[in-house]
């Protein structure tokens, strides 16, 4: 039984208002920017003002009021409605198509590998293993290692002349295809442990008698895996998949540090392109349109995700 009572709104209100203020408002503003061209011109005037003392009286120096340089500025903003121009440009821009391709290939490389490996590791750790809690703790570290720092560390690991993986002869960062694989490998390193932890938790919740029952029915190990465990874990897989998809769409720090998006644009994901467009080249309207393109995709993932989540929050 849950309580009612007006005070519940007071408990809830600060957080709700906060989120409204800090996400809904910026998103609305961003939409505005996508439809309008905003230009600013700053005009400046140099003047000298007297320096005041604590009581607000002009300070004197050699009998004259002491002056200081001050720059006054006035900002003139002009706004023009440009309608769907930015969105049309988005659809026709080869850079955008390229970044979308990079992002998709990255997702396909990284996410299935993370879930597959995570499942295998969970099966491994579900056995009787010496020092399991220590090893399990060690596996948590990558998840919390600062992604930007991780990117730089892997830059040195993939270094092709004298790096620790140089013996493979693989052009880790100098070949466009391999560079994207390398970015995916770093992501796999960082996020397989997450998939592993979640799947392991689900595995450990499988009751012992289920195994016993399967044994009694004469099921082989393979049958046990495919006919019992996989169907049982499917909801977990789906949740992990959706979370990883949503997170992987944010990919930014690792290529920023490791490849700078290169060679060429071979490892420039969508979010990096949008960031550069907005905050390096100040094409704010177009960057906003890009952001909305990404949001549209994310909305699909969110909807799927939360359809699934409703069951957990019933």
């Amino acid at each position: 039984m849950r309580w009612t009572g007006r005070i519940r709104f007071l408990f809830l209100a600060p957080a709700v208002l906060w989120v409204l203020a800090f996400t809904v408002f910026p998103l609305g503003y961003s939409l505005y920017l996508a439809f309008f061209k905003v230009e600013q011109k700053v005009e400046i005037k140099r003047v000298q003002q007297p320096v005041l003392d604590d009581q607000g009286r002009p300070l004197l120096e050699d009998g004259q009021p002491k002056l200081r340089n001050v720059v006054l500025r006035e900002t003139v903003t002009t706004t023009t409605f440009i309608g769907l121009d930015n969105f049309r440009r988005l659809l026709a821009d080869p850079q955008v198509a390229d970044a979308v391709r990079v992002t998709l290939v990255f997702l396909l490389l990284a996410v299935p590998a993370e879930i597959g490996l995570g499942f295998l590791l969970a099966l491994l750790f579900n056995r009787r293993i010496m020092g399991r809690s220590v090893l399990r703790a060690a596996m948590i570290l990558p998840i919390f290692a600062t992604p930007l720092a991780v990117g730089y560390v892997f830059f040195t690991i993939f270094y092709e002349v004298g790096g620790p993986l140089a013996w493979t002869g693989i052009p880790w960062l100098s070949n466009p295809t391999w560079a994207l694989v390398s970015v995916a490998l770093v992501d796999i390193w960082q996020w397989t442990p997450f998939c592993f932890l979640v799947i392991l938790a689900a595995l450990q919740a499988v009751p012992d008698d289920l195994y016993e029952a399967a044994r009694i029915d004469g099921a082989s190990n393979w049958d046990l895996l495919t006919k019992v465990l996989v169907p049982l874990l499917t909801p977990t897989f789906v949740i992990v998949l959706l979370i990883r998809l949503a997170e992987a769409l944010k990919l930014f720090d690792i290529p920023f540090a490791m490849t700078g998006g290169g060679p060429g644009t071979a490892t420039q994901p969508y979010s990096m392109l949008a960031f550069r467009t907005g905050l390096r080249f100040f094409d704010l309207g177009y960057a906003s349109a890009m952001a909305y393109g990404l949001l549209a995709v994310v909305m699909v993932v969110i909807t799927l995700f939360f359809r699934r989540m409703r069951e957990s929050y019933g």
Binding site: L12, A137, M139, Y152, T156, L197, D208, R308
Partner: protein, 286 residues
């Protein structure tokens, strides 16, 4: 706990599995070890050290890079900034999120159901930061908050709020309702029941949640690089600064990477128990 019964006593297989697990753990720890090894090398040893770069075996280690880097005012300032921003964001998110979590755990909402409210909070987490970084930038500029701790605290608090709500909602649900109801019968207000009964019981989770969101904020780069320019530079932004016009200086990078990675990783170990729940946004209890 949940090993298949038939497996019990299969010690050879378990031994092999243990070995495999150790190898796996080694692979996952290697990069962090590598950064540490790099940080101990002279510039000339950077590209010429063989094998796994084991100090004393493959090269003579030096602390020169650590002394050079950790002592600089810029490094110290970025560490201080990151600590201030991450603590501030964690405190603010807890302040806002704990009552909200209590509300969805204990009260019944009619028009918007409890789960809709929870899910709405969660959707903020899935939002790609790059979609909001430009408007955030403009808002902070309008408020005159660019390059301040406050700006980064406000932004990060917003992005970690969903974690707080989700983890604590489950914690409050797991608390026995009877204690709070008894307090209400004794004449306490809902606020009193929350403040004096529920909150102290949830304190350990509260602390763990604070640590997790501290680590998330510590690691955040996109907003930090967009919103800071001089005074509020955080550790990840400072790391990016080890790259100059001449390229990455590997030896300094090793030190800076370690200073960035160690604090959140230690925190992760402290708050282990709550991590699965937090990272899956409560979808898996862990």
């Amino acid at each position: 706990m949940a090993e298949p019964a038939a497996r019990r006593g299969a010690s050879l297989a378990d031994g092999l599995a243990s070995l495999a697990a150790v190898l796996v753990a080694f692979v996952f720890l290697f990069p962090i070890y590598w950064a540490f090894s790099q940080s101990l090398r002279n510039p000339l040893d950077t590209f010429t050290v063989a094998g796994f770069g084991i100090p004393w075996v493959n090269f003579t280690p030096t602390l020169a890079n650590w002394i050079d880097q950790v002592g600089t005012p810029e490094t110290l300032r970025s560490l201080a900034n990151s600590t201030i921003v991450a603590s501030g964001a964690a405190a603010l998110a807890l302040l806002l999120g704990t009552p909200a979590a209590y509300a969805v755990a204990r009260f019944r909402f009619a028009r918007w159901k409890n789960r809709d409210i929870t899910i709405w909070f969660l959707s903020q987490r899935v939002l790609p930061p790059v979609a909001t970084v430009v408007p955030f930038y403009l808002v902070m500029r309008a408020l005159g908050l660019l390059d301040t701790h406050l700006a980064l605290i406000l932004v990060n608090a917003t992005f970690v709020l969903p974690f707080v709500v989700v983890i604590l909602r489950q914690t409050f649900l797991d608390l026995p309702l009877e204690l709070e109801e008894a307090a209400l019968v004794d004449g306490a207000s809902h606020w009193g029941a929350f403040w004096r009964i529920a909150l102290p019981l949830a304190a350990p989770t509260l602390a763990a949640t604070g640590l997790i969101v501290f680590a998330f904020t510590w690691n955040e780069f996109l907003f930090a690089v967009a919103l800071s320019s001089r005074n509020a530079i955080t550790v990840p932004v400072h790391i990016a600064g080890a790259v100059d016009t001449r390229g990455v200086q590997f030896w300094f990078m090793g030190v800076r990477a370690m200073t960035a990675i160690v604090p959140p990783v230690l925190i992760a170990l402290l708050a282990q128990r709550y991590i699965v729940r937090g990272l899956t946004l409560g979808a898996v209890k862990g």
